[in-house]
C-alpha cells in the first residue's frame, strides 16, 4: 500500500531535466511507475517488519545540489589505491578523484559519463541484477538514477590495489526549518570478467545533525573464476537515513567476499543478496554493526545457492547500546539442484543495555537433500565472570568493558582486508565505544 509521497513527484520531474535520454530515460520512467504504484514498504511487509520507514516516506527530501568540494573528504581517503572516485552529493567530482594507470581495457569511471561514452556497455547490465520489481527502494534509486560508479574488468584483468568509491553527502545549511533536507541515489555497477580480480571499498559518509537520505544500489557481476573482495563502510551521520542494496551474481567458480561495516546512520538498512549462478562458487559475508541512542540498524542478507558444490560462510556481529535496535535476517536458499552445498551462518548480538533490542532471524530454505547447512544465533550481554577476571587484573570497569566488546567484534574486524581500512574500522568502532561507555572509571 502506498504511503504519502507528496514530495517525490516534483523532485522526480525535476530530476528528469538532468539529462541522460533514450534507454536510460525509459528505465527511470518504468522504475518510477513501479515505485509509485507500490509505494514505500510498511511494517506489514514481511521484509520490513521491524523497520518502519515512515520518517523517510513522510520526510521531504530534495535532490542534493552538486558541489565541487566536500567537507571531510580527506578524513575518508584510502591510501595506496588504484583509483579513488569521490562523489559529493551523489555527483562525481573529478577534481577530488584520481585514477592511476590501469591494466588495459579496465574501465573505472563515473556512471554518468560511462552512460554517455559507452551506453551499450552500461545498459547491458544496468538494472539487470538488482530487481526493481520486488524492491521499492531499488525502484526509487533507478527512478532517480543519474550518477555513480562504473567498474568493468575484462577477462583476466587483475587490479591488485583497492578501488575506493567515496560517497559523501554535504547538506547545505538549512535556512528555514521547512527547507527540505537532501537525498542522493547513487548507483554502483561492477562487472568482473572471467578470471579477473579486484578489491573494492565503498564508503558512505556525511555529517551528524542532519537527517539526509542516502538510497544506494550496487549491482555486481563476478564472472567465471573471478575474485572480488568488497568492503562497504557505512559511516553516515548519526541522524541520516541510509538504505543500501547490494545485488551480486557470482558465476562458476567465482569468489565473492563482502565485509559490511555499519557504524553510522540513524536508520540504516542494508540488503545484500548474492545469487550463486554456477558450480564451485565461494561466498563470504562478514558483517559488523554498532549503534547507540535511538538508532536502528537492519541487515538483510540472502545467499541463493542455485547450483551444486558451492560454499558460503556468513558471520554477522552487532553491538547495541542505549535504546538502539538491531535487525538481522539471514536467508539461505538451497535450490533443488544445489547438492553438496556447504553453508554456514553465524550471527551474534551483544546488548549493552536493558533497552537495546535485536530481532534476529536465520531463515534456511533448503530444497536439496545432500547438503551441509548450519546456523547459529546468539544474543547476550557481556559475560560477568570475564568482566570480573579482567578487573581483577587491574583494568577499570570501563576499560574491561572496552576490551571485551572489542574482543567480541575482533573476529569480524580482523577479517576486514586492507590494513588502512581495517584501522579505520577499528578507530571508528573504538571512538563509538568511548562515547557509549561512560568515560569515568
Amino acid at each position: 500500500m502506498a504511503t504519502t509521497f507528496d514530495w517525490g513527484a516534483a523532485e522526480w520531474e525535476r530530476a528528469q531535466q538532468r539529462g541522460g535520454g533514450g534507454a536510460l530515460a525509459r528505465m527511470r520512467e518504468d522504475a518510477w511507475g513501479r515505485f509509485v504504484s507500490r509505494g514505500f514498504p510498511t511494517t506489514r511487509d514481511e521484509e520490513w517488519r521491524f523497520t518502519g520507514v515512515g520518517p523517510i516516506a513522510e520526510g521531504a527530501f530534495a535532490l542534493a545540489p552538486p558541489l565541487s568540494s566536500g567537507d571531510g573528504v580527506d578524513d575518508h581517503r584510502v591510501p595506496d589505491v588504484a583509483a579513488e572516485l569521490v562523489f559529493v552529493n551523489g555527483r562525481y567530482v573529478p577534481a577530488l578523484s584520481r585514477i592511476d594507470a590501469l591494466p588495459q581495457a579496465v574501465r573505472i569511471g563515473s556512471l554518468a559519463s560511462s552512460m554517455t561514452i559507452t551506453p551499450d556497455v552500461v545498459t547491458r547490465h544496468l538494472s539487470r541484477i538488482a530487481p526493481s520489481e520486488s524492491q521499492p527502494f531499488v525502484a526509487l534509486n533507478t527512478a532517480f538514477l543519474h550518477d555513480g560508479a562504473f567498474i568493468e574488468l575484462p577477462a583476466g584483468a587483475i587490479v591488485e590495489r583497492p578501488i575506493h568509491l567515496l560517497f559523501l553527502t554535504t547538506p547545505q545549511v538549512r535556512l528555514k526549518a521547512d527547507t527540505p533536507t537532501v537525498m542522493t541515489h547513487p548507483r554502483v555497477l561492477v562487472i568482473l570478467g572471467a578470471n579477473s580480480q579486484a578489491s573494492i571499498v565503498e564508503t558512505y559518509a556525511g555529517p551528524p545533525g542532519t537527517d539526509y537520505f542516502t538510497n544506494t544500489v550496487a549491482e555486481i557481476v563476478v564472472g567465471d573464476n573471478a575474485v572480488l573482495s568488497h568492503v562497504k563502510l557505512q559511516y553516515e551521520g548519526a541522524d541520516a537515513f541510509h538504505v543500501g542494496a547490494t545485488h551480486v551474481h557470482v558465476q562458476r567458480s567465482g569468489t565473492y567476499v563482502s565485509n559490511a561495516i555499519n557504524l553510522g546512520g540513524g536508520l540504516a538498512r542494508n540488503d545484500i543478496a548474492v545469487v550463486l549462478r554456477g558450480e564451485g562458487v565461494d561466498c563470504t559475508l562478514n558483517g559488523l554493526y554498532c549503534a547507540d541512542a535511538d538508532r536502528l540498524v537492519d541487515n538483510h542478507t540472502t545467499i541463493d545457492h542455485a547450483n551444486p558444490h558451492c560454499g558460503s560462510r556468513e558471520i554477522y556481529k552487532g553491538i547495541l547500546a542505549d535504546r538502539a535496535r538491531g535487525v538481522f535476517n539471514g536467508k539461505i536458499i538451497v535450490r533443488p539442484d544445489a547438492q553438496k552445498t556447504d553453508a554456514k551462518q553465524t550471527n551474534r548480538a551483544l546488548l549493552l543495555s536493558e533497552d537495546a533490542r535485536i530481532n534476529t532471524k536465520p531463515q534456511l530454505e533448503i530444497f536439496a537433500n545432500d547438503v551441509k547447512c548450519t546456523h547459529g544465533a546468539a544474543v547476550g550481554q557481556l559475560d560477568e565472570e570475564a568482566l570480573f577476571y579482567v578487573r581483577s587484573r587491574g583494568l577499570s570497569d570501563v576499560d574491561a568493558r572496552h576490551l571485551l566488546i572489542r574482543a567480541f567484534a575482533s573476529d569480524v574486524v580482523n577479517r576486514v582486508p586492507i590494513d588502512a581500512v581495517r584501522s579505520s574500522v577499528e578507530g571508528r568502532l573504538y571512538r563509538q565505544l568511548s562515547r557509549i561507555l561512560p568515560s569515568a572509571a
Binding site: 578487573r391 587484573r393 574482543a407
Partner: protein, 264 residues
Amino acid sequence: MLKVTNLHAGIAGREILRGIDLSIDAGQVHAIMGPNGSGKSTLARVLAGHPEYVVTAGEVVFDGQDLLSMDPESRARAGVFMAFQYPVEIPGVNNAYFLKAALNALRAHRGEEPLDAMDFMVLVRDRMKQLGMDETLLNRPVNEGFSGGEKKRNEIFQMAVLEPRLAILDETDSGLDIDALKVVANGVNAMRRPDRASLLVTHYQRLLDYVVPDVVHVLADGRIVRSGGKELALELEEKGYGWLPAYAEASARPANAPDARGRG
C-alpha cells in the same frame, strides 16, 4: 599485611563464610585446606572482590586499607592478585596484549610510566624462562583453547609479571601434572620475599611438598577450625577430613546440590 576479622559472606542469600578470622604477615605463606563445600574458594573470591558475593558482617584490612570497600580493580592496584580456579577464556584478546594492559594499569596507579613493547617483552621473556613456560602461549587469545594445565600456568605467569603483594591461589594446584605443579610451586616460591605474602587455597597436600607454608588452616563449614604449622598438612593427608566435627554434616548433603558445586 592482611587481617580478616569475623568475616561472614555468602551468595544468592546463602551464607557460606560464617566468621573467618585470619591474619597474614608480610613474608608469610599461608595454606587453607578443607573439604569440598567448606568455603575455601568463597574466601578467595570474596577477598578478590567478586561482585556475586555479599559480605554480611566482618572486616578485612589490607595494608591499612578497608579492602571490602574497594572494587576489584582497586584491590588489584593495591597489590592483591587471585589466581582463578577456573580462568576465564577471552577469545579475541591476545594474551600478551592483555597482560601488558594489566601491568600498565598497575603502573599507572603507582605513578609509573607505561612499559613500552620492548621493555615489556624483556620482562615477559624473563618470567617465562624463570617458570619454564612455552612462549607460544603469549600470542594466543587469553586462555582460549588452553588445556587445564596451561590455564593454571598462565595464571602463575600473570602473577609473576604483575608481582602482587598478596597472591591468592584458588586451587591452582588442582588437576595438574607434576610438571605444571612445579611451575606453580616455582611461581609461589619466587614470590617469597619479606614484603610479600601468599595464601594458597588447596584441596590437596601435594603442592605443600614443594611450597613449605608458614601456617596451615583448616576450613570447615565456613569457619577456620584449626591452624598450625606445616605438619598440620601432613596430618590432614594422613587422616583426611573425617575427624572434623562439621564434615559429617557437610558430606551428608547430596553431591549434586548447588552448594556442593566445587565452590569449595
